[in-house]
Amino acid sequence: MDAGDEGSEKREVEISDDRRREFETEALPHLDALFGLALRLTGGDEARSEDLVQDAMLKAWRSWDRFETGTNCRAWLMTILRNGFINSYRRDRSGPVKVEFEEIAEGPGSGGLYDADPEGRVFDRLVNEHVLMAIEELPAEFRVPVVLADVEGMGYQEVADTMGIPVGTVKSRLYRGRKRLQASLYRFAVELGYLP
């Protein structure tokens, strides 16, 4: 190897070091946010969530050249993770789809949380963990739209596009998913003695 080759090799190493440092400063601080999203989407499956985060980070690293510095890195990473989750979610769904028809009290005036606590006082007493537990308890077909819309703030069309389902289905799953969440929170509140 002559001196010239050695020089260019050194430059390459420096460039890749810079690239890695940049990735570590820009992308790694969003690890908790990504993990949080993965946990919500998987319904609290920590091992699967870590895998999702790891896959997303590796994918992000490999396409780091395509990330435009100065744009929202967190949103970019979240999209990569969400896509990874949705792909596996769709793969799992490709078999016979199990649909739950079991209905619970969900309409207005049907003995739900609103009737027991119309001012929503219980929301001041229940802690984050309760919401997370309630989200985890939701079947995936309700949990995913609820997380995308209510935690991530997506609009109906965006949820529909992400999940590959019609907007009307998003609407009805959000309605039922939210009512189920309220029913779980109601149950927790009663168990904790906050509500009779």
Binding site: S16, R20, F23, E24, L28, L31, D32, A33, L34, F35, G36, L39, R40, E46, E50, V53, Q54, M57, L58, W61, R62, P108, L113, Y114, P118, E119, G120, F123, V127, N128, H130, V131, L132, I135, V146, V147, A149, D150, V151, G153, G155, Y156, K171, L174, Y175, R178, L181, Q182
Partner: protein, 94 residues
């Protein structure tokens, strides 16, 4: 409201849509999510503002959605995950 219910001589533009409590409550999430077309949105808003039964219900659902949004975000990843990712990246580069 259909044409038969509308008083004579009043066209659709002069008679803004009147919603019942049931109709409004059925739209509570679409309203709070900002997903209704402008006219519908306006009709729900008008109903809720003057309805003593619907107003607290809409307020409750708004508090609930804010609560879910806030609470759903908290999470801390295992520090080991960051180490593994750093190692993966370094390995991937080599």
């Amino acid at each position: 409201m259909n044409d038969q219910e509308r008083p004579e001589g009043i066209g659709p533009h002069e008679a803004p849509e009147e919603l019942s409590c049931e109709e409004s409550l059925a739209l509570v999430y679409e309203f709070l999510d900002g997903e209704l077309p402008a006219e519908r949105n306006e009709a729900v808003r008008r109903h809720v503002q003057k309805c003593r039964r619907c107003y607290p219900h809409f307020d409750f659902e708004r508090i609930f959605l804010d609560y879910v949004n806030e609470a759903g975000r908290a999470a801390v990843a295992n520090p080991d995950l960051e180490r593994r990712i750093r190692a993966l990246i370094a390995e991937d580069e080599a």
